[in-house]
């Protein structure tokens, strides 16, 4: 069960900030989330949304373990 975090507008869209979701990869996680909530699925693939696994930004697909932390980071606002 990866720990999944949403930030900024993604959190408002989904209505949650943190959940545990079973998925063996980022790609599978995206499918699970899109199946539940098509709007969220589209937003997660939107322009400028980055993915961090265990606090490091990753590109493309990445395998997940039960202890992985996956964060979806919409375009940053700055401080």
């Amino acid at each position: 069960m990866a720990r999944v975090l949403l930030f900024g507008p993604l959190r408002d869209l989904a209505g949650w900030r943190e959940r545990r979701i079973a998925a063996a990869s980022v790609a599978e996680l995206r499918s699970v989330l899109a199946a539940e909530d098509a709007d969220l699925g589209a937003a997660l693939g939107g322009k400028g949304v980055q993915v961090a696994v265990d606090q490091a930004v990753v590109r493309g697909d990445v395998a997940l373990s039960a202890s992985s932390e996956v964060a979806f980071l919409p375009p940053m606002s700055g401080g």
């Binding site: 961090a52 940053m76 606002s77 700055g78 401080g79």
Partner: protein, 147 residues
């Protein structure tokens, strides 16, 4: 070097007192304090979200660049997160260097990064409801000055 996030209001003066103490070879300390503007009543509350751990680490990478590029002796960054009322400080940056030009430029560089690229998500709660904010074209142009 100190990089911290805080949910509590802070006094930039207390940070400057701490930062300048005991510096006999530094010569120059520049600081910047960003304060939440009321925008003549249009913004009631600013809400800043960070990704704890990740946000400090990303800021730390830029801080390391600044230390190298400007030959800093030290630097400190404190950034508010959570709900911020008008008049409250949002961010404090201090840079210590041998000479003033380096200290000024380092603060300027760090602020341009923090305003446009640092991992924060910012929402304004105003009289017409709430909205997420993105960096302005000016914020991006400011950052691009540094190559």
């Amino acid at each position: 070097m100190s990089i911290r996030l805080t949910e509590a209001p802070f006094d930039p003066g207390a940070l400057l007192t701490e930062f300048t103490k005991g510096r006999t070879e530094t010569g120059a300390v520049a600081t910047f304090t960003g304060i939440a503007r009321a925008e003549a009543g249009a913004t009631a509350i600013l809400e800043l979200e960070a990704y704890p751990g990740f946000t400090e680490a990303e800021i730390g990478r830029i801080a390391d660049q600044a230390r190298e590029r400007f030959g800093l002796h030290d630097l400190a960054i404190l950034h508010r997160v959570g709900r911020i009322a008008p008049g409250e400080p949002i961010v404090f940056v201090a840079a210590a260097a041998g000479h003033r030009r380096a200290a000024f430029e380092a603060c300027d560089f760090l602020m341009d990064y923090l305003k446009s690229r640092a991992p924060f998500w910012k929402k304004e709660h105003g009289p017409d409801g709430e909205r997420w904010i993105e960096p302005t074209a000016q914020d991006h142009a400011d950052r691009e000055r540094w190559g």
